[in-house]
Structures are given as C-alpha cells and as structure tokens.
Amino acid sequence: MQTVKEKKKEANSSTKIKISGAEAIIHCLLAEGVEILYGYPGGAIMPVYDELYKFQDKLTHILTRHEQGATHAAQGYARVTGRVGVAIATSGPGATNLITGLADAQIDSTPMVCITGQVARHLLGSDAFQETDIIGISTPVTKWNYQVTRAEEIPEIMAKAFYIAKSGRPGPVLIDITKNAQFDELEFSYEHCTGIRSYKPVPTPDESAIDAAAKLINSAKKPFIVFGQGVILGHAEEELKKLVEKAGIPAAWTILGLSAMDSDHPLNVGMVGMHGNYGPNILTNECDVLIAIGMRFDDRVTGNLETYAKQAKVIHFEIDPAEVNKNVKADVAVLGNSKDTLNMLLPKIKENNHEAWHNEFKEKYKIEFEAVIKEELHPTKEGLTMAEVINEINNVSQHKAVIVSDVGQHQMIACRYSKFKQSKSNITSGGLGTMGFALPAAIGAKMGAMDREVIAIIGDGGYQMTIQELGTIFQNKTPVKIVVLNNDHLGMVRQWQELFFESRYASTVMSNPNFVKIAEGYEIKAKKVTERKDLKSAVAEMLASKDAYFLEVKVEKEDNVFPMIPSGASVSDIRLK
C-alpha cells in the first residue's frame, strides 16, 4: 500500500487526499514509527483490520490468543526497546480484556497506546451489541484516554496519544474509536504533537535543589542510593554510574531498577524490598543520607513507613511531582528527568570513598550468604531450588539475556539471582503483580530485541493464566525460551499461608497437566528436568536452541523465599529464615 505522501505525489499536488478513518489510523501509526502491534480483531475494529491487511508489508500485526496477551506483549516490547508498545482490540469484551495490561502499564510507567473499536456513534449509550463504556472503565488505569467519534479527529488524537504515552513519566493511553469514525473519510495530514498547554511532562530542575542535594551528599558519612526504573526511563544509567563511582556510594536497585547498573559493579549492593537483600534493607535504617533516584517508595520497598529511614535525610530525584512526599517525606526534592538532574548534580559532587560504610554492606552480604544464598545456589538437599536454575542460566547466558519474570516466588528468585550487564534486561510486573504477565511479555520483548536471548521465568500458576499465548509463539515461530519452575503450588501464597495462616493451604495446591506435551502440541521443543544432574545440560540445550524452547524444572515443593520483610514490618525486621 502507498503512504499518503506517495499518494499525494501521484495525484495533483494541490488536491487534498481523502482517506478513511481506518486508513488514517495506519498512517498515524507509521508516522509514529510503529513497526509492530499486538491485537485481536472483532466487529467494531474490522475497518482497521482491513487496512492492516493492506499495509502488512509496512506494519506487522501479531495476533495474540487473548487481548490481555496483546497488552503484555506490547508492554514487553516497550520495556525492552524504550519505545511505545501498541495493542489493538475490538469493543466490548475485547476492550475490557485490555484492562489488566493497562493497569499494569500504568503502575509500572510503561509507554503504551491501546486502540479499541467502538460501536457507531449513533448507537452509543443504547446498550448495542459489544458496546461497553471503555472510557469510563479505563479512566483510573490510563494516563489519558479519549473517545474519537469523528474521522477528522483521528490525526490529532493519535499524535496526542503517542506524545502523552512516552513523555514525562510514561504510561498507557487508550483511544476508543467509533466504527463510523473508522469508515468516514477525512483529509489527512499529520503533525507530531510537541506539547499540550495543560500538561508539563518534565518539571524544570531547580538549581537550588541540586545545590542542596550536593551539599547533603558531600557531607554525608553514610550515604545510600536506592534507584528505580526512573533511571532506565530517563536514560540515566551512565550518570548514575558516574555518581556512584565519584562519590563512592553503595547503591541498591528496586525491582524495576534491576539492570540499570551492572550486577557485578562493586558498589551495587543488591535489591531493596520485601524479598530484597539483607544489607540494603537493614542499612536503609542506618544510612545518614538516603538518595532515592527514580523510585516511588512503594510499600513493598519501605515496609512500615513509621520506621523507614527516619534517621536519614532523604533526597528524592523524581520526574513526577505527585510522588514527592507521597509516602516518604523528602528533605530535598529534585524534580526533573533523572539524566538532566544527575548531570547537573555531578560537577558539584566531591570525589569520595565510603569504604568503612561500604564494608558494612559486605558484612551483611556475608551474613545473608551464609544464612540463605549458599544453600539456594548450591543446595545440599536433594530437591532442586529455583535459584540454582537461575544461576545455571546466568552461567550459560553470561549475564546477557533479557529475563522476563512472572509473579510469585520464582519472580523474587529471578530478581534476586539473575545477573545483568545491560539496561532494560529485566522485565517483570512490579507494581501490579500480574500473574500471567511473563509469557506474552516475553513474546513482545523478543520481537523488540531479536538479537538478544529472551528467557521467560514463570511459575506453574502464572504460566496457566496466559498459556494460550503458546499459540502466538507457534504461529510466529518466536524463539523465546520458557522456563517453568514448577513446585505444584501457588508458591508465594502458600509461603504466606505457612508463615501467617498456620499452614492452612487454602487453594494453593495445583494439580498440573503434562506441560511438556502441551508445549509439544504447539511444536515447541520441550524438556522436563526433575534431577540436578540433568539441569546443566538442559539449560545449555535450551540456550543453544535457535527456536523456541520450553523447559520445565521440578523444584522443591515447599521452599520459601528469604530474606523477607513481613507485610507491615520495618525494613530493620527483615527475616533470614
């Protein structure tokens, strides 16, 4: 198919080209540099699918097996590429099936544009077939949404959608387009959106806040950095590294900050949070200056706020003013894009080295290693541990893989033990905790990074929430590697039942099907490992495979993830067992 420019060239240059709203949508996507989108057709979006058919040489549409899968695939693509992920669905159930993905993208600040079809304008509000108020339903879980009812609105609204999704703190946008607006014609011209008068995506950094932050950091005896996804979204990985190295400050990542720094960087002291590392959690309450960069003090990070870092001066580098003083009061708030603010800060930072303080983290690591990590990585018991599987993957992938984890025990283990060399390599549902996220997200991640190894780490529970996406892998021959760590339980809930509900395992025991046969049904190479002696060769075989590969590892049924900060407890009360 021709682009509008090509059409214009052919036609008399003075005549305006009229195209359908549906075709205009395609041109908008192309103008925004979209190469791939994920979706599922249906009645109210058929005109757009008809255009997708015509433009298939320019725009790849991936048919997922459920609309939720489309959103997670778009998220995986967005997270690995840093670009806007696009998902498309029909009205009614197609649209409502997007909600979980929208909510996930909203809480994890993932740039995504979802397009939904809607019944024709004259039917709106009549309870027509597959009519649902998707604007009303999606409002709390979108950064912005809009219902287009006239074809001529399409270019401006689509431009706004992409601008809003990717600017400032990114997030999901939903555009609902009535069927008449898809059929009707408009004179098409496209202009990228460069600003909206009511919307200031990036606050202007305040020089005096930078000065105040520098002063606190320079005079700190026990400074501690906790960084989150804001470093990745702001492309500030280099600046963070410079700050850490120049000032000699131990730095820990949040679950979404993983991979923003080399795992093996000497000043990387691991992960904060409920199942994070012992040192960074416990020493949060001993530092004198807490430097939070692009993170939002989630309750899974802070534990009880009344006892969180009360001794410390808090500096908060943040792009979203609404996050400042939301959970933790900042003594200095530095608003702006993390790359800009860290660049402004760096020349004001004195070279320093907090060796004694850094040694405290190393001491704490030794304690954690002896109490938890040693047995996890090199078990002396018979059953396989999740961590030894991750460790084996690290060994073979040489820390270069993209790790996409689902939600639960295996996620915590994957985030604790996976090693990273490159940013944007850890894709997981952090804020929403969406089981079923990983399989479709891995599909999107692989399509966004075909040159990289993409490994989905999934539990037996979450796997079965979106297992139908094996069909998407089959149809597209997407070479993702799928590892199911099978403990025949909903492990994390079972762990809580054991610890806090006197081992009453209410609905957490799973009778699982033959996962290998299921994978083989989709013509995916599959293997099951039940003994330690077979693990190494199986992981090697999986990662040597050029095609998709499914590896099920039977792990110990009732292992618990430690360390652990019990819900509502202080970071100081982190338990090692």
Partner: protein, 183 residues
C-alpha cells in the same frame, strides 16, 4: 500553604482546579477522591475567567496532608492546567440555595415574612400554589434559614456547590501564556 502542625487535623479545604473543558475529566478527577475514600462535600464546575478553561471548585473535609496529595494527583492529569487548595480564611466563598414553599404560608404564617427579611433572601417567583426563595451566603447562613423554615414545611430545597475565589492570585493566564512562549 503548609500550616505546620495542622497537617493531620481534619478541616475544610476548597480545591480549585483549572482545566481544559473536556468530556471525561470530571470522571477522572472524582476517581481520585473515590480511590482514597474522601467524600466530595460540594462540587461546582463552571467556566472560568479564561476562555475554554473550566474551573472546578471542590470542597472536602479532610487533613491538609491528604488534601495536598489529592491536589498533586489532580494536577498530574493531562488536561488539568493547575490545581490549588485553600482553607476558609484564604478565600471568599458563597453558596446559593432555593426553597420552594407553599404560597398560603406567606399569608397564614406571619413569621415566614420575618424569616425572609432577616435572612436577606429574595423571592424569585410567586404562583398560586408556591413561591420560591433564593438565598446566597455562607453555608451556616443557609443552614440557619433552612432550620427556620423547616417547621412550616419546605416543598423542595436545593443548595449549590460552593463558589470561591482566592484572596491571592491564581496565575493561570501567566502559565498559559508561558506555554505559548515556550512553543
């Protein structure tokens, strides 16, 4: 606007929101209150001093800490230009109310005429069956008038949302002009 120690004490705040006049924004804003279980005591939406810009006036009874967080969340919405909050001392505010009362009471009950005079209210219309009183003032004044009339029977009563203007400047025009200059 932080009054120090009063952050955790419940009090009345008036939130003023300047926003683009778009369908759906009210839903987005009310959701912010809903999510935090904070009741909207009164809500008024009208045009503002700036063309195509709406002004929401929202009254809440909660702590300053919550009010500030809500205002931050409101301001974060794409179509919101700016949101402010003020306590009652920082604004000039009024509410309006209409009372529909049976006409015969005007002649049968002498006291009604006194209430009308003393409350500084106006008779908007009189028909054979009923008359309508309009009262503009502070909430407690309207409440007092309501209490005074109630024993005689009020056929219908309605009160508007709070209308408020701040004593200090709310520099919206400057912000919008700056946006044009930035472009």
């Amino acid at each position: 606007m932080d009054k120090g120690g009063g952050l955790m004490k419940k009090q009345w705040f008036t939130i003023s929101v300047y926003a683009e006049n778009n369908v759906g924004l009210l839903n987005r804003i009310s959701g912010i209150f809903l999510k935090r279980h904070i009741n909207i005591e009164s809500l008024n939406v009208s045009k503002s001093e700036i063309e195509h810009v709406s002004k929401f006036t929202i009254v809440v009874n909660t702590t300053e800490d919550w009010t500030r967080k809500i205002v931050q969340q409101i301001e974060k919405q794409v179509e919101v230009i700016k949101a402010f909050y003020h306590d009652d001392d920082e604004i000039i505010y009024q509410e309006s109310a209409l009372f529909k009362i049976a006409s015969h009471l005007l002649f049968d009950e002498r006291q009604i005429q006194n209430i009308i005079k003393e409350s500084n209210s106006q008779i908007v219309t009189v028909s054979r069956d009923f008359f309508v009183l309009a009262k503009t003032g502070r909430r407690h004044e309207i409440d007092e008038m309501h209490d005074a009339l109630e024993p005689y029977g009020i056929m219908q009563f309605v009160r508007s949302g709070r209308l408020a203007v701040s004593k200090v400047e709310m520099p919206i025009s400057t912000m919008l002009n700056n946006f044009q200059l930035d472009k």
